[in-house]
């Protein structure tokens, strides 16, 4: 063997080793979710799940749906993640259109203020937001998780502004001569042109909102408005020993994100990379 093929072999070994590290916790989640309650506490732990061998691998997955509140939590998470991501599209693209086109003193001030809020971690705004939502009577509803996304998104606005800036000035000029309104230009030129950035923004916002724990835990405590992460946390507290069902639920909670990632990999990775590189 020459030195080149040895180094290729070493690279593959490295790649494989970390692939095992990456996959194992996810795999173990699925394997455990396919074990019976008795098999779960066998020592040493079995690597092949008994329910799979018995031909009934999905018993625990079905059992999750029988747990009070699981289906509701799925719907709540879907609703929150979809609407919050959609809200980001609207507010960020509208604001991006203005900031990319117009720079007077007031617009610049708003833009700078908006971007400077990115330096403040969520933790800072949490308590006053709690007070605000309590005053509005929004606690224990899904509104605190959805409404702010329709109004403000610093990163998304920055991203759309930068993206819209690259639209050639001449196209707009021609459209105006043809009698297009500003909103028409926004709708017919900017939105289609910005589609890749909008797709990335939607996916990143969807994943982030699906994953959000802190805000739901603080703003909502009643079972009807729990999101999936909340449901799982409560499950741990309630039925500590039912790991098989719990891990089946955990897998179901992460499955939509995995599917989105596999389907739209390029946009997801680009969106997250951009969200930090700015």
């Amino acid at each position: 063997m020459n030195s080149r093929s040895i180094s290729v072999l070493l690279i593959y070994l490295g790649l494989l080793a970390y692939a095992v590290v990456t996959l194992f916790p996810l795999l173990w989640m699925v394997i455990t979710a396919m074990k019976s309650g008795r098999e779960l506490f066998r020592l040493p732990p079995s690597l092949v799940p008994d329910l799979l061998m018995a031909g009934t691998p999905f018993v625990n997955f079905a059992a999750v749906f029988d747990k009070a509140g699981f289906l509701g939590a799925v719907l709540n998470s879907m609703l929150v993640a979809t609407l919050a991501a959609f809200g980001q599209l609207i507010t960020c693209s509208l604001a991006g259109f203005v900031f990319a086109n117009l720079r007077n003193r007031v617009f610049t001030a708003i833009y700078v203020l908006l971007l400077s809020t990115m330096f403040f971690p969520t933790e800072v705004t949490l308590i006053p937001e709690f007070l605000l939502f309590r005053q509005l009577g929004w606690l224990d509803t899904l509104l605190p998780l959805i409404v702010p996304s329709f109004f403000v998104g610093a990163f998304g606005t920055l991203m759309m502004t930068e993206f819209f800036k690259s639209i050639p000035f001449e196209i707009e000029e021609a459209a105006i001569l043809d009698g297009a309104s500003s909103f028409g230009i926004f709708k017919d030129i900017y939105v289609p042109f910005g589609a890749p950035a909008l797709a990335s923004l939607f996916l990143v916002a969807f994943i982030a909102n699906w994953d959000e724990v802190l805000r739901p835990v603080i703003f909502n405590s009643s079972p009807e408005v729990r999101t999936l992460p909340q449901f799982l946390l409560d499950f741990v507290g309630q039925y500590e020993s039912q790991w098989t069902v719990l891990l089946a639920g955990s897998f179901l909670a992460t499955l939509p994100l995995i599917m989105i990632y596999i389907g739209c990999q390029k946009w997801v990775v680009a969106g997250f990379a951009r969200s930090s590189l700015k």
């Binding site: 117009l102 933790e123 800072v124 930090s276 590189l277």
Partner: protein
């Protein structure tokens, strides 16, 4: 102002209205209010009482406050180097462009987009002292006695950090890959022609050229480690005996478990100063280079 801008100006105010309302209601007002609350003693029900810098003194000097800061520092000491070095190594491996590398790149990023609570719960089961798979591995390999990953105060914080390293490494890999794209490839080709080995190329060409990105990744990792919350609430609830309580979790705990709004607000401003300080440092160093 040109014709296009004049044309847009009429409607611009309406388009920017939601953003302005949101900025004031959900950002500027809360930031200001939180700053004021941090100087009060307030249990959220009664009347806030002005106490000057007491909360900040408590956050920075009380035994528990110091413990939280030390924990945050220790957590960063585990998380930042591990995540950075792993992310960098994976980027190098993936950047070799050999066959099948796209699959590995896709796979490595996967943990980053999984739901944190869900995967943390899976890790919690792996960490189980008696029935967990990690201790089973240790005993199969005759490496050590079972470790109480989450209930030993000396280990719990490290366990939480390891889970987050596992989750975030793929993200840092993507950042390093973006950095690698900017490197002048002809330098590497020339070095290869001169007979330089892979190690020398990494040390003498890639590392120096990647320095700005490395620095950036370290800063992002530091900020992320100060804010960690999801893994903590899923794995340890900050325990045992606050051994794994870092700043991000302490703020939640003080505000919404102990209802000490003043202290929690003060701690959130300490966090803010850490994040802001790190960002400012980055900005300054970038300016100096440019």
């Amino acid at each position: 102002m040109n014709a296009v801008q004049r044309h847009h100006l009429r409607i611009a105010w309406w388009m920017i209205l939601p953003c302005t309302i949101g900025l004031v209601c959900f950002r500027l007002f809360p930031i200001l209010a939180s700053f004021l609350i941090s100087f009060t003693d307030w249990n959220i029900i009664g009347v806030p009482e002005f106490v000057g810098l007491n909360n900040y003194i408590q956050a920075l000097t009380s035994p528990l406050g110091v413990k939280v800061l030390l924990n945050t520092f220790q957590y960063a000491l585990v998380y930042v180097p591990l995540a950075t070095i792993l992310g960098f190594s994976l980027a190098l491996l993936v950047d070799t462009g050999i066959k099948g590398v796209v699959f590995f790149r896709t796979l490595y990023f996967l943990p980053f987009i999984t739901a944190t609570v869900a995967v943390a719960i899976s890790w919690k089961w792996m960490f189980a002292t008696r029935f967990g798979i990690l201790n089973a591995f240790l005993s199969w390999l005759y490496l050590s006695d079972p470790i109480a990953w989450l209930s030993n105060p000396n280990v719990a914080l490290i366990s939480v950090a390891v889970v987050m390293v596992w989750k975030d490494t793929g993200f840092y890999m993507v950042l390093f890959l973006a950095g690698l794209q900017t490197i002048d490839r002809t330098l590497i080709e020339a070095a290869k022609l001169d007979g330089a080995n892979r190690f020398a190329i990494v040390r003498d060409i890639i590392l120096p050229q990647l320095a700005p990105m490395t620095f950036f990744v370290v800063l992002i990792a530091m900020i992320n480690s100060a804010k960690t919350f999801e893994a903590t609430i899923s794995l340890t609830n900050g325990g045992p005996n606050n051994a794994s309580t870092t700043l991000g979790y302490a703020i939640y705990q003080n505000a919404f478990v102990h209802f000490d709004m003043g202290l929690a607000s003060a701690q959130s401003w300490v966090l803010c100063l850490i994040v802001g300080g790190i960002s400012l440092l980055h900005y300054r160093l970038q300016q100096r280079k440019a």
